[in-house]
């Protein structure tokens, strides 16, 4: 049974439809990358998964299940028991996400005190042990220090400790390496991977760095303009990128083996105050067709590989050729080169 099953999440904040149609599913222990450019609704999705959207935001979903519970009608009381306990989050900027007036140790111990009812001493012991596992030297002294006495990489490790201390079933990491030096990024990624594997935690890894995705994810969901436009396993999405947006994203990544001019995606994302009625990407798409004026439903590309694009409609000529023995992958591959 899947840990998280979210279908057609919609979040609007005032007149902005920040998330229009996002579907996500996660198996226990799975790491899914949520990829997309700034402003496409990744962070709003993450905040919604924690029930942390402001009151002014309206959240609705067709189906929303977590660990066998219906999440759509959760009271604030239930959410509080969940947050930091079963669902935890690692924030993008550890420099601002830690409370400047509390010791690192106290901040890591806090979820244990709230959710597990541990005493101050026991919680602190666990926090120090966790810091040690995260390769922080002199953890006992470090735990007594304040965030301003830590470096960026160390702060992100403290942030990770804070998130995993209650061994949550789902860990949401919102661009956890973006604010860090490149040299520290790899280290933090490794630690995250280690923590995840040792505790069997599922992870939703939000990023716009495709290199990181390839490193850490089992499966990928690509978001554009408030919608998931493609989702599938890592190999499916990376070898058979089905949606033109995913294809364009990949062409915008520099490659060492195969140097070529980088291609930026022409145009800008649509204004989510007045989202287009048709496909959100149509205005920037090189393979646009007349039918793209209508919103494409999610279409199956392969086994559990889904793209929200008319190219994968069963009446599309490419699909006819499928029947003559072509695989989807080869067709798309050929059409691109």
């Amino acid at each position: 049974m899947s840990l998280l099953n979210l279908e057609s999440l919609q979040v609007s904040i005032g007149s902005v439809q920040a998330v229009r149609d996002v579907s996500l599913s996660l198996q226990p222990g799975e790491c899914r990358a949520l990829v997309g450019e700034s402003g496409c609704g990744k962070s709003v999705t993450a905040m919604s998964l924690l029930g942390l959207m402001p009151n002014a935001a309206e959240t609705a979903a067709q189906h929303w299940q977590f660990a066998g519970r219906d999440m759509a009608h959760l009271t604030e009381r239930d959410w509080r028991k969940l947050r930091g306990n079963q669902i935890a989050m690692i924030f993008q900027n550890p420099m601002t996400a830690l409370d400047p007036t509390q010791t690192i140790g106290a901040q890591i111990a806090e979820p244990l005190r709230i959710h597990k009812g541990l005493s101050r001493r026991d919680a602190k012991k666990r926090a120090i042990a966790l810091l040690e596992r995260l390769a922080i030297a002199n953890p006992a002294q470090r735990a007594e220090q304040y965030p301003f006495e830590f470096s960026g990489g160390m702060l992100q490790r403290a942030m990770i400790a804070m998130a995993v201390v209650c061994e949550p079933e789902l860990l949401i990491a919102d661009e956890p390496t973006t604010a860090l030096d490149v040299t520290v990024q790899a280290e933090v990624l490794c630690l995250l991977q280690e923590m995840r594997e040792s505790s069997g935690t599922a992870m939703l890894f939000i990023t716009h760095d495709l290199g990181v995705v390839a490193e850490i994810a089992d499966s990928v969901s690509v978001m554009y303009a408030g919608q998931t436009v493609e989702s599938g396993s890592l190999t499916q999405v990376f070898t058979t990128e089905a949606h033109p947006y995913t294809q364009a994203l990949k062409r915008a990544v520099p490659s060492l083996e195969n140097p070529r001019p980088l291609e930026a995606i022409a145009g800008t994302p649509p204004d989510l105050r007045k989202p287009p009625t048709g496909c959100g990407f149509a205005a920037r798409c090189s393979q646009r067709m007349a039918v793209c004026e209508q919103a494409p439903p999610p279409m199956s590309v392969g086994d559990s590989h889904i793209a929200r694009c008319w190219l994968w409609h069963e009446d599309h000529p490419r699909r006819w050729r499928d029947k003559d023995g072509f695989t989807n992958a080869s067709v798309i591959g050929r059409s691109r080169r």
Binding site: M47, G84, M89, T96, A97, P100, T101, Y146, M159
Partner: protein, 314 residues
């Protein structure tokens, strides 16, 4: 940390010397002297009095004399208070002003922090609007008007109840502290609630506040552990000037509520050019404020570890 405190105290001493000197010469620049009275006195009597109080000496000698006595902690004898020593006046009446002032500061702090936090939590909704309207009213209306209004309200209440619920004025019982303290602290409370609202709004949208919520922190724990401690710092910064405002504002309130505090003597002394009392009360208040500001500086470090100097913890 000790080094820091020593430095602050030294600069405080210089400040006090400056206050004393400036006051001394300003005071002597005012036409007339303590012996100027409606009733003319004979030159012989006048000369005798001048000699007794040292007013016949050159101004600079008087200044030296005053500084020397001040260093010994002696402010001399009042000109107008029948041989009372200025030190005794301060000793007897300052505690009363201090109790009133401390009560006023406490009311202003607790009230300001509460009102500001409520306003920030309910941003742009009716509690916020109400607090902000009250703030503008409390800042704009002078203390003596509010004091008079408060007395009218008390009288009306007592009449309606047919007995004395609250005394209108006077000093001596606990029930006589709260109304003048509230009146005295009201303007400051209003000012502090504005500052508190602004800094709380900042905290409410800060990453660490969202991160704390994401950990499952909520309710009072979230408020006291994460929000208040971060938001209160600008309020603490204002505490020094606030205490100054409250002690100086105290004179008027003490007069209206017939409270025998030091403020009355301070005002009277200036009106009557009672040199020794002016110098004594001014230097005393100056020293008191300098001490308060140093204490406020030290308290920053207790609240915000980033300001703690030289790793004060270890």
């Amino acid at each position: 940390m000790l080094n820091f405190i020593a430095k602050r105290l030294l600069s405080g001493v210089i400040t006090i010397w400056f206050i004393a000197t400036a006051t001394f010469f300003a005071m002597h620049a005012v036409p007339g002297d303590p012996l100027t009275q409606e009733k003319a006195m004979t030159p012989a009597v006048r000369a005798q009095l001048e000699a007794r109080y040292g007013l016949d000496k050159p101004l600079f000698d008087q200044y030296r004399l005053f500084l020397g006595n001040m260093l010994k902690g002696d402010f001399g004898i009042s000109f107008t208070q029948e041989n009372r020593r200025v030190n005794d006046i301060i000793r007897e009446h300052f505690p009363i002003s201090a109790i009133l002032g401390v009560a006023a500061v406490l009311i202003a702090l607790v009230g300001g922090i509460t009102a500001g936090s409520v306003a920030a939590y309910c941003r742009n909704r009716w509690p916020d609007r109400m607090v902000m309207i009250a703030v503008i009213a409390a800042i704009s209306v002078p203390g003596f008007v509010i004091a008079g209004l408060a007395q009218l309200v008390i009288v009306a209440m007592n009449n309606a109840a047919g007995k004395t619920l609250l005394p209108v004025a006077g000093w001596g019982s606990v029930s006589q502290i709260w109304v003048p303290a509230l009146v005295l602290g009201l303007g400051t409370m209003a000012y502090l609630s504005r500052i508190m609202r602004a800094s709380m709004l900042e905290v409410l949208s800060a990453d660490f506040n969202i991160a704390a919520k994401a950990k499952g922190v909520h309710g009072w724990r979230l408020f006291f552990h994460h929000q208040l401690r971060n938001a209160v710092l600008p309020v603490v910064t204002e505490l020094g000037p606030t205490i100054a405002a409250i002690t100086t504002g105290g004179f008027v309130v003490e007069l209206i509520f017939a409270i025998p505090g030091l403020g009355r003597y301070f005002v009277q002394a200036v009106q009557q050019l009672d040199y020794t009392v002016i110098m004594g009360t001014t230097v005393f208040y100056g020293a008191f404020l300098v001490l308060v500001v140093v204490l406020v500086d030290i308290s920053y470090g207790l609240i915000d570890p980033r300001i703690r100097l030289h790793r004060g913890r270890s």
